[in-house]
């Protein structure tokens, strides 16, 4: 299934290990250098006047706008609203997805009845439902949160379901023969056994929620939010505000990636046994 492998990895260039301070400096240097090159090219193009400055602002202007918007509290408020929507939508997906996945994994009847419906709905890109949700629930927060939850719950359902099914039969039998009742079997064997899968499902779900949220904010006409900020900035040709918003989006995305998705590779590549001693 496509949801099972949306790996994203973030590595920095490995530095040769010499003395600690020198190698640290070199690592920083290697990581900063590409941005200096790209930033330099941007500055040259921006100052050359080939494009109108309103469309291609210099980095100083973007930085100044970034600082102004941050100090005035506009940028933080947009970011907080976006994060709140992300968390509410994701919480919805987590509760609903894990619950449904567990039921489907444990009960054959539930699996037979629910899986066809889930696998009919899952391949449709969630964004395609946006206009439909807008008509049904009106523009605003409700639509955004519901849509984000809807989009990200499929990865959670699939992974939870797979995880429960992947719990070894022999563990269940031995726990049962040692006198575990259903409740204890669930809490002590099934849940811990399925947990790695559930976690990787949650990570995938959060990644999808994040990617879709920005687009939904643009379409759903919310009052605050980073997606709305950059979309609204287009009307007044505020390219600098737009770029400042994109920077914040990148920072949040990078933080999510580093803190949350980083260990995803362990659950895909290593689990398949495809990665040798190479790294």
């Amino acid at each position: 299934m496509a949801y099972a492998a949306q790996g994203s990895m973030a590595l920095t260039a490995p530095a040769p290990a010499h003395d600690a301070a020198g190698s640290w400096l070199r690592t920083v240097g290697w990581n900063v250098f590409p941005f200096v090159v790209v930033g330099g090219i941007w500055e040259i193009v921006a100052h050359a006047g080939i494009f109108p400055p309103a469309l291609f602002p210099t980095l100083e202007r973007v930085a100044a706008t970034f600082v102004n918007l941050t100090i005035s509290g506009i940028l933080p408020r947009h970011a907080i609203e976006t994060l709140l929507r992300l968390l509410s939508g994701f919480a919805l997906a987590a509760v609903f997805g894990v619950g449904l996945g567990l039921i489907m994994g444990r009960s054959r009847a539930a699996e037979d009845y629910l899986l066809p419906i889930v696998s009919t709905l899952a391949p449709i890109p969630g964004l395609a439902y946006t206009p439909l949700f807008l008509l049904w629930f009106g523009p605003g927060d409700v639509t955004t949160v519901l849509l984000v939850g809807f989009v990200s719950c499929f990865a959670v359902i699939y992974n939870t379901w797979t995880g429960v099914k992947a719990v070894k039969e022999i563990w269940l039998r031995s726990a049962q023969s040692m006198g575990a009742d259903d409740r204890r079997l669930f809490r002590k064997v099934i849940l811990p056994g399925a947990l790695p899968y559930i976690f990787s499902g949650l990570r995938l779900g959060l990644a999808q929620a994040w990617r879709v949220l920005v687009a939904v904010e643009m379409l759903a006409a919310v009052n605050w939010g980073l997606g709305w900020l950059i979309f609204g900035a287009r009307k007044f040709l505020n390219t600098d505000a737009m770029l400042a918003g994109i920077v914040v989006i990148a920072i949040i995305g990078l933080a999510l990636e580093r803190l949350v998705f980083k260990r995803l590779e362990d659950y895909t590549v290593v689990r398949w046994g495809m990665m040798g001693s190479g790294t």
Binding site: A2, A5, Q6, G7, S8, M9, A10, L11, T12, A13, W30, F33, P34, F35, V37, L55, F56, D112, Y113, P116, I117, P123, I124, P125, G126, L127, A128, Y129, T130, P131, L132, L135, W210, R211, V212, V214, A215, M218, L219, G227, I230, F231, R234, T239, M242, L243, G245, I246, I249, A250, G253, L254, L256, E257, V269, M274, M275, G276, G278, T279
Partner: protein, 267 residues
């Protein structure tokens, strides 16, 4: 024998239940649609949606929308493969390349492609170019990362063995590195297409052009054409399913499965 019979009857039961579930879901929807709880414009009955779908297929508008969406997604996705794969290979084989591009890839990858739509609309206007570039942006990073991982995961023993048997750099590359990395490259292609498919729908909605499945869905909202919306959603889901299962499944069978690099996943 008994176990086999039991399994057969169990799978028959699964199929029966799947049919029941889908029919029940359809019936529940139909019941709500006809109950008059919601205005029919917002909640069209299934026959209405199917009627619209067949009308749009018959008069060719659906095909035209599909064609322009496929054009955008395939150009962007093709460009992502053409640029992402070599870049991933170069990054894995040459350390300076890796050192230069890896920080950039790491920084750019977490930016959702949709957040660039307003910027690209200002720079490149509304239409094909913006949509294709968004698709390209969405699809490139999975290609780069998976190719890079795949080339690095090639067993060093194979490289040394081929080298000892006198393979030059070119032969090594064509006979060992590319086939060795191919399972990862295929995973990359699949992920890239999945993202490209989502990106094209979203980009078409925001950067409205005149044609395209995403555009037609969003445009239908203005006129409350919920049936058109649902018909297009069905087409989008169907095409995504066809690509994922048939096209890439066939690609996988023709390459890595045939080479014995990967076993077929259990039924």
């Amino acid at each position: 024998m008994i176990a086999a019979e039991f399994r057969a009857s169990a799978s028959l039961r699964s199929i029966r239940r799947a049919v029941i579930a889908l029919l029940a879901a359809g019936a529940a929807y139909e019941l709500v649609a006809r109950s008059g709880l919601f205005p029919p414009v917002l909640f069209p009955a299934i026959p209405a949606v199917l009627g619209t779908l067949s009308d749009m297929l018959a008069d060719g508008t659906m095909l035209a929308h599909t064609a322009s969406t496929l054009f955008r997604v395939l150009v962007g996705f093709g460009a992502a493969i053409l640029i992402g794969t070599p870049l991933g290979v170069l990054m894995a084989r040459f350390q300076p390349v890796e050192r230069f591009f890896m920080p950039l890839v790491t920084a750019l990858m977490p930016i959702p492609s949709f957040s660039l739509v307003p910027l690209f609309m200002l720079w490149f206007g509304i239409g094909d170019l913006t949509t294709i570039l968004i698709v390209f942006y969405a699809a490139t990073f999975p290609m780069i990362i998976n190719t890079w991982t795949g080339v690095r995961a090639v067993n060093p023993l194979w490289l040394r063995a081929a080298g000892a048997m006198g393979a030059d750099e070119k032969a090594l590359f064509r006979k060992v590195i590319i086939p060795g990395a191919f399972p990862f490259i295929i995973t990359g292609i699949r992920q890239a297409f999945l993202r490209a498919w989502i990106a094209v729908v979203g980009a078409e909605m925001i950067a409205a052009s005149d044609w395209g499945l995403g555009w037609v869905i969003f445009d239908a909202k203005e006129f409350l054409n919920t049936d058109v919306m649902m018909a297009s959603i069905v087409v989008i889901g169907f095409l995504g399913f066809v690509f994922e299962r048939l096209v890439f499944g066939a690609l996988e069978r023709a390459t890595v499965l045939r080479w014995g690099m990967m076993r077929q996943a259990r039924g």
